[in-house]
Symmetry: C2
Subunit: 484 residues, 2 copies
Amino acid sequence: MMLQSNITELDTFVANAVDGHKYLQKLSRHDRAELMYTIASHIEALGEELILTAQEETNLPQARLNGEKARTIHQWRLYADVTASGVLLDARIDNGEGKNDIRKYNVGLGPVVVFGASNFPFAFSTAGGDTASAIGAGCSVIYKEHSAHPRTSRIMAKAIYDALQAFGAPNSVFGYISGSSHEVGQTLVAHPNVKAVAFTGSYQGGMALFKIGANRPEPIPVFAEMGSLNPVIALPAYVIANKENFAKEYIASLTLGCGQFCTNPGLLFLVKNEDSEHLKQFLKEELAAVSVNHMLHAGIRKSYDAAIQLLNATKEATVVGQSSADSEFPSAIVYTVSAEDFVANKQLQEEVFGPCGIIVECDSINQMEETIATLGGQLTITFAATKDDVQANSSLIELVKDKCGRLLFNGMPTGVEVVYAMQHGGIFPSSTDSRFTSVGPDAMKRFLRPISFQNWPDDLLPVELQNANSTQIERIENNKRILP
Amino acid sequence: MMLQSNITELDTFVANAVDGHKYLQKLSRHDRAELMYTIASHIEALGEELILTAQEETNLPQARLNGEKARTIHQWRLYADVTASGVLLDARIDNGEGKNDIRKYNVGLGPVVVFGASNFPFAFSTAGGDTASAIGAGCSVIYKEHSAHPRTSRIMAKAIYDALQAFGAPNSVFGYISGSSHEVGQTLVAHPNVKAVAFTGSYQGGMALFKIGANRPEPIPVFAEMGSLNPVIALPAYVIANKENFAKEYIASLTLGCGQFCTNPGLLFLVKNEDSEHLKQFLKEELAAVSVNHMLHAGIRKSYDAAIQLLNATKEATVVGQSSADSEFPSAIVYTVSAEDFVANKQLQEEVFGPCGIIVECDSINQMEETIATLGGQLTITFAATKDDVQANSSLIELVKDKCGRLLFNGMPTGVEVVYAMQHGGIFPSSTDSRFTSVGPDAMKRFLRPISFQNWPDDLLPVELQNANSTQIERIENNKRILP
């Protein structure tokens, strides 16, 4: 099932995915969950080869890769649990006396194209969260390999195929497309039998796919998670009391994974005063002491160095501090700019992928609020605040709620937990549709649609909608939630 | 707050809607529900003027308008009940030991532009389902009047404004734009502070708005419900036993409201045999006896007559029967075509808005399945079938599930009940996003997005996410559904 990018073969390839989708639609949800557990076990059984290959291809350290592998396995198991529970079927029954008997639940949209991400070779690539949530929704997947880690991806793909075989499922459930051709990716998104797309990566890449999805004869949802500046807003009372710790936390988060996370805290808002000057001093000291890793690949390093050169040449930006750099490791760096300059110079608002932070110094809370009002949508926004800070600044808090998918009180935005309550999909341009998340079981909702059955005989209904509810799911029946 | 279409004033208009949205976001969900009940009561209190004006503007009979008024009031009350219940907040809490405390619920997207529909002057216009579901989701509305019933719309708008005043809410919750300018509508959809759009109407109109929504700098969801052929598939065993009754039911549904429903059963699939010939005879007799009403307005009548003229001139289509026509009333008419001709001639697959049906005669169930496979997506598909018919044709049933939002077993697709289990939003081109419905409480989901709170102090969280759950909503807490 491995295919070199050959555009003429894509029709056959998508036809296979349609078969795979039909197969998944016919599986009971417990069997679908079982298939997902089987995939999880096959990933778990992958040995050193996976980690070593990923290390070679991505420069990520072993501990991080082991953690990411565990997270990937957890995703499959959690999404399988939720698939088996039937919660995301959103089952509803209305059959009041004298009314039509109408019953609704969710089914999979159809084949989903998943694009791998450079920065998560396991958790957002071949067998990552997008693939797991599509299969959990009952949709077959066509995975388009990322050119940064093809060998890693193929090891993962083999684990999936081995799992499909062990379970007795056809290979058509999962298609794998190798090669780095953009044309192949775009042709796939435009294919009439592809019904949804998931992408994690750059704004340019995400929007190119989104436009194809929206403008094809039948528009399809393209869920693109495209990155974010993830502002941290440090409020005055908090800064007074916590500057040293905060500096440690901020620099640790900024340099985690060499800053190559979509939740990297690239902006730091401060009210300029004596305490903010002290904080800057602590940040400088932290930066001097920090060590960063290799970047993912030479291309990302080149882009990062170019962005830093540009910032160094920007007269409005002053360096607060930086870590030592050499040909192997990039320099982690923090700049400071005034709020006026930040608003005036759009270049300062561009995401720099890597360990680079910009402090936006405001004269007052009012100016901070006005400046934040000019920001585009974000995946996360973090308040470094005391409770008094929050209570004293309610209009700022309300403003910020309209700007992000996840709002943190202290702590740092890096580290996206795979739980039900996670929202990882912010306001545009951080993602293309703020109504959905790409992390957590609700990620499956992206690929589900409801279908209603009106006046069907009980025994011809899907088992989840039959009166007996023999597979024990929660439902809303005549406006009342009924638990099994 | 009534505005003549003046494109230069739209900025102020949208700025108002942003204020209205902020107001709604601050209301507790019980107060929002109270506001919706108040609007329902003000609509209920509208007297004869509403019905008489609507009758003049739309030609719809009084009984139908009274029914539609009752439905409109029911929509407000049901959506208010669901808003108050908090079910659609989809609240989730994850705070396992040693983990971050993450809590998520849904908030409104922002100002929603609603376009009125010609065929539902109450239920899908000014104070219709789109407006009720947007306000239920906590979103302000800008309503764009439909040129077919401006006076009716203004009576409804006045009821909304009176209700806002009685409740103590600002007028900015609901904006009303008069006039028939397409440019004004399009400029609104493109406005950066508009966050979603709801539309019911033609394919051309819906897709024009969808493209604007998808291609503006920040793409927004445009939910367009654009019509459908609503095939009825009459299977052989059913036809043998029920032809006379079925003919009555089909013609009654085809001519209901003069065929001007998006769920009008415009296609009838039959296997050609002696029984289908008998059925055609019964259909002919029913048509001869049926009386239809005026159409909604002269423009729709003109389009209908032109479509019939075109079909009459199409050599593949044979008239099965028709009702008498005159200058006042159109002719209800049923044609028959062969499956081959139906597939070959795309014109036969165009929706005719009005009481016109096309029988697609198939040589066999196989040919029927092949023909149905060529159809685009539909709002509804209906099986006229016995249980044996269904069991004997499982591949046809599976095929059809991929083609529609609502699947009926006998009965007719007209009559869209406003219940939780309703799915009114089919596969493209019947709607722009099959993941959502425009009828039933779930219609509110179109305008909701999740926001997560990480590690917030309990007393600074929205009340619905606090530990005490003092407002008693259902939540998923650490993967378990907890009812209040």
